[in-house]
């Protein structure tokens, strides 16, 4: 994978056209010179070394690669990195500072909302978008908002509890 990325990202042979993109990632302006066919998930992971964004199915089914694009959750394996030029992207690394947890992260910890953890970044960002729009969701609304994110460990029960926990905590703050 990294070989392919190097080829696309840094050493385009001959006259392969690249584009310069400027993307605000977790509040910081990042610049990259990329081939237009590079996917956003790969730019985040290999280009910017933000490997909290996971690529699961690579077919826009599983939602592990979910990031916030101008505040809305999208599947970063199904968007070209060049499309993010001039836009804002939030990854799981941007949820909270290095020494603290976002209430959603606390919720996943407290309510055991993860087992293997692979789907967790996508789940948390989908949850963030939900709570930004609807701070006091019902269980049904949480399930609906997370229905584009697959988890093969938990059976979802504790994930839903985690998000409801975070909603309560954020409202109390």
């Amino acid at each position: 994978m990294s070989g392919l990325f190097e080829e696309i990202h840094e050493q385009p042979n001959g006259d392969v056209p690249t584009r310069r993109v400027t993307i605000t990632v977790n509040g910081d302006q990042r610049v990259a010179q990329i081939e237009p066919r590079l996917l956003l998930a790969h730019l985040l992971r290999q280009g910017f070394r933000l490997n909290g964004t996971h690529t699961g199915c690579d077919t826009s089914n599983c939602g592990a690669c979910t990031v916030l694009f101008d505040g809305k959750p999208i599947k970063s394996c199904t968007m070209l990195a060049v499309q993010a030029d001039g836009h804002e992207v939030t990854t799981v690394e941007g949820l909270a500072g290095a020494s603290e947890l976002h209430p959603i992260q606390e919720g996943f910890k407290d309510e055991h909302g993860l087992q293997c953890g692979f789907c967790t970044p996508g789940m948390m960002l989908a949850a963030k978008a939900l709570l930004d729009e609807n701070p006091d969701p019902t269980e049904d609304e949480v399930r609906w908002a997370l229905s584009g994110n697959l988890c093969r460990c938990t059976g979802y029960q504790n994930i839903v509890k985690s998000v409801l926990w975070a909603a309560k905590k954020m409202q109390a703050q």
């Binding site: 066919r37 077919t59 199904t78 070209l80 060049v82």
Partner: protein, 291 residues
């Protein structure tokens, strides 16, 4: 998975996009939401030489209703916009029912209705909905705009009637002449899966008498199926248990399902029958929406 190499352009006007399409000479693709096209590029089922990203075009992200009741959906109106639409909730029950069933909530933030029509997947929900509503697509090319009825727009699986230098800029649902009712039902194994079967029903009534009816089927044939005979039996009289049963039976026979991992052909036909019945039986159980 990586797409094969392409030239990427992000035009700032429709005219510029059309000029690029002409340069592409049939080897160009338009990128809107990308929720079908990007997977196709990654699988290399599509490998265009030129990709024209229209997401930066101003003024295409609307959906609106004209004073006469005509509904217009711009090429960059996302499924999520339609899911949250107060216009559709108040006026267009078939579309309002379908919007939350398209793909999954995250895909709906990017994908577009017009793009879904262009993609012409036999499993696409919007093609059935717009077919049942008798809608059309507005295509813009170098020589201006033309309207293409959606029944002629989708010419086969993954094929549409656009010329190589045309862009679908808008979908239009004609103004209803009576009171509208209808719905959309889809059976899927899990959220985001392709439909095992889906049914769109749209009727208009004057008093109790049905004055127009459309029924279209998702995922039970090589293309979206316009079940015109089934719809026609409803027109000219009030809905009755008999006419509903007859329409359901005709819709089931219009389906051309194939047995696959989602179910047997007979099962899918039965779903179509039940869904037509269910939608039509329910239209008088929920508050009607005035045109």
């Amino acid at each position: 998975m990586y797409p094969s190499r392409f030239r990427y352009e992000a035009p700032r006007s429709i005219d510029e996009a059309i000029t690029l399409l002409q340069q592409g000479a049939g080897e160009a693709k338009v990128l809107a939401g990308g929720q079908s096209l990007v997977p196709l590029l990654k699988l290399r089922f599509a490998s265009p030489e030129l990709l024209i990203d229209i997401n930066g075009l101003p003024g295409l992200d609307y959906h609106k209703v004209e004073p006469d009741g005509t509904i217009r959906i711009g090429a960059l109106c996302r499924h999520a916009d339609l899911e949250r639409s107060t216009i559709l909730a108040a006026r267009q029950p078939t579309m309002a029912a379908a919007a939350p069933l398209v793909a999954d909530p995250i895909v709906r933030n990017r994908g577009t209705l017009v793009g879904s029509l262009c993609h012409a997947d036999p499993q696409g929900d919007w093609a059935s909905v717009v077919t049942a509503l008798g809608g059309h697509v507005v295509a813009q090319g170098a020589n201006g705009r033309r309207n293409i009825p959606v029944s002629q727009f989708v010419t086969g699986p993954f094929q549409n009637a656009l010329a190589y230098d045309e862009i679908a800029v808008e979908a239009v649902i004609p103004a209803p002449k009576g009171t509208v009712a209808g719905g959309y039902l889809k059976l899927e194994r899990r959220v985001g899966d392709f439909a095992t079967a889906g049914v769109a029903v749209a009727i208009e009534r004057s008093g109790a008498v049905v004055t127009r009816a459309g029924i279209a089927l998702t995922g039970v044939g090589g293309a979206t199926i316009d079940a015109t005979e089934a719809a026609q039996v409803l027109v000219g009289s009030p809905l009755s248990a008999e006419s509903i049963a007859q329409a359901a039976e005709l819709a089931a026979s219009a389906a051309q399902p194939r047995t696959d991992h989602r179910g047997s052909a007979a099962y899918k036909r039965q779903i179509v029958r039940i869904f037509v019945e269910r939608i039509l039986t329910r239209v008088d159980q929920s508050p009607e929406r005035a045109a």
